[in-house]
Subunit: 415 residues, 2 copies
């Protein structure tokens, strides 16, 4: 895409009302717009990153056999009353509103109840199980505080997946395959090495749930890790019992600050019993369905990536999610030859299916273009100018050294 066509602009000044680095950089780079505290709109480049993250997650969820659906935001009061979670004292993040037609509705902060309820239409026999579904849905949560940019929003995009299984054994199988799928997601996002499957507090059915925690100073959690043994324990469950169970001592653990980028949870049969979701087994007996839920905060992950991959100059996107692979920066555009070359490079890259942002803006100084390029954070910068004399100066966003090479060679380098 040509940058001259882009309506967003970069800014030098840090937004006064943002303390979180992710929001500061994303707003300065024109990726997001703040509607109010904890509520952001996604501008063209921001939406591209979101879609790239979604696609990675989608591929991995499909790989383990889950089907994509999309639930509504609006929710029935009666449904949530079955599990006593309409009550504001039990769930304190509801946004509720009155229907003109009478009655109250809530806006989805989670979808466990509505998905469980819906499945009553489709699950009646053991032959109908297992079922795995996921969605990318816009959650609304009435959070009291919202100071972490897109890492904790009042409105945010989440991948939530739900599993419905015959019993514990089948549940465990999917639960384990989801852990592996999550690992692949975080690896592909470039945070695999810093993301730990962490023992956290469970529920009625299990001692532990599992969180995926990524080391970052911007996090809100503390976990205790042992890198060698690949063990991580959330502060909330760090006690003698847990240490004993995991066969580790406190001294072997390192305390790190982390952000939760995913969580998986075993409901056992409790949720299904509350909702009345049963199946008939081969002996005609009614059995409650074994449920699990599996979340990844898509917009939150985008925030974590910015927190982890940025420097004093701006964002440094991992190649897997960058809005464009290459930022083609053309200088000296008043020179006919340079202009022609830049245009040609742009076209060749596009033809080769390489996503390229072309800074074709006239009357913008070289220093400004470079500053914008660093702020925007594409993985590769291609400079074309009088000085490059028909070649291309190729630089990686993460490195300071550059080299001047032919277009052919430049394409080879980035592949």
């Amino acid at each position: 895409m040509k940058q001259s066509k882009l309506f967003t602009k970069t800014r030098r000044e840090v937004p006064a009302d943002e303390v979180a680095k992710n929001a500061q950089l994303l707003i300065r780079a024109g990726y997001i717009h703040k509607e109010m505290a904890g509520v952001y709109s996604y501008l063209p480049f921001g939406l591209r990153v979101i879609e790239n993250i979604k696609q990675i997650v989608r591929e991995e969820m499909q790989f383990i056999g889950a089907e994509e659906i999309l639930m509504s935001s609006m929710q029935r009061k009666e449904l949530w009353e079955q599990t006593n979670r309409w009550n504001d004292k039990i769930v304190d993040v509801w946004f509720k509103s009155k229907l003109h037609a009478g009655g109250e509705v809530g806006f989805g902060w989670s979808h466990e109840e509505p998905i469980g309820e819906m499945m009553k239409n489709y699950i009646s026999s053991y032959r109908d199980l297992p079922v795995f579904v996921y969605q990318f849905q816009n959650k609304l949560r009435n959070e009291l505080r919202a100071k972490s940019g897109i890492m904790r929003g009042r409105e945010f995009l989440m991948k939530d997946m739900y599993s419905f299984a015959l019993g514990e054994e089948d549940h465990e199988k999917f639960y384990q395959s989801s852990i592996e799928a999550y690992h692949r997601v975080y690896n592909r996002l470039g945070i695999g090495n810093d993301t730990f499957v962490t023992f956290a507090s469970g529920g009625a059915f299990t001692k532990f749930s599992h969180e995926f925690q990524t080391i970052t100073e911007a996090g809100e959690d503390f976990i205790y890790i042992n890198r060698e043994k690949n063990i991580a324990i959330n502060e909330e469950v760090l006690n003698d019992d847990t240490l004993k169970e995991l066969d580790i001592t406190h001294d072997d653990l390192e305390k790190v600050k982390t952000a939760e980028v995913g969580n998986i949870f075993n409901f056992g049969t409790q949720k299904a019993e509350d909702l009345g979701l049963f199946y008939t087994n081969s002996e005609e007996k009614k059995i409650p369905v074994w449920m699990g839920s599996y979340g990844i905060g898509i917009s939150r992950v985008m925030g974590v990536l910015v927190e982890k991959f940025s420097d004093e100059k701006g964002i440094v996107w991992p190649e897997s999610v960058a809005p464009f692979q290459v930022h083609l920066v053309a200088l000296d555009l008043d020179n006919e030859e340079v202009r022609k070359q830049a245009e040609q490079v742009y076209q060749v890259l596009e033809q080769k299916g390489i996503e390229v942002l072309y800074d074709d803006r006239e009357g913008v100084r070289a220093g400004e273009k470079f500053a914008d390029s660093d702020l925007l954070g594409m993985p590769w910068r291609f400079v074309v100018s009088k000085r490059t004399a028909g070649n291309i100066e190729v630089k990686k966003r993460t490195e300071s050294a550059s080299q001047v090479v032919s277009l052919e060679k430049a394409i080879e380098i980035i592949n």
Copy 2:
């Protein structure tokens, strides 16, 4: 995809609480699930149709130079007060809620105000114009009645586009190109011939707005059309003045029932003046931006397609939006040769990039499989059975005749 893996099921009985044909069929076929009146969730096949419609719209909006963004659902009260549209007496479809942090928020039933407000960050000079942006966003509207299935929801997916221009001339240029883009969209959706650009009531700045109205008995509007002259007039503006202006008489018009599938609207400079969205022209003078808005109800269009393209047996999807092009129905699966052939046909179609739903269910009678296939409505049905003896019985959903041909020939037929 293999139908045995699908969690949804078809039903024979019509849902008792649905009067709209679109909802009846879509629920029976397992495309959607009703959460409450006017609120539906999209199951795997329903979501595929939605995504196919979105992709057609996306391509045509990009073609006329619009950039995709995604605004938030949550909206600030103060923003809408500027145009006096927070007032429930003026806008009667708001869902509003209280923030725990204090104050009130609304949930987006439209985005003219927030997008206009946001543009203050990006539009200051004539050099910044024009700007065209669009989004696919989940609108929430507190409708008193909701009986039309997904054709008029309390929650629904909309493509809304907004234009920001220097003045009337530039505005008109984009307005016209959007009319052409809309025509292309409806043509690709298969409803081009029955969709009319219709004069409807305008606003402060223009006598008329333009609606895109599609002839269907399920519609809520009446328009008057002249097919030869390609003129259409909404009942609401049908008067002597309008007839004179369009140089047509009442007798030349035919009254038809229609559903609105799109609308485009010229705000002139009124909206920008209310919001304070000005640019500086080359003489350093402050000028209000000329704005337009352009909507297509994505889920509504899906409903209209079902209303128009269905018969007593079920849905008849246009090829452009069908969840799968081919429904491969395998009978006699207890026969090893048939099973092998079906599996092979499935793999070949997938390898060729043809989207195929494979009814691999065992223990389901032929009649039931055919009934399901008709209800689901894929454009082509491929039957493999003992009777087809290594060949394929190919049938178009819209036709009753079938032919038994080789796989090679079958692929030729559908292309």
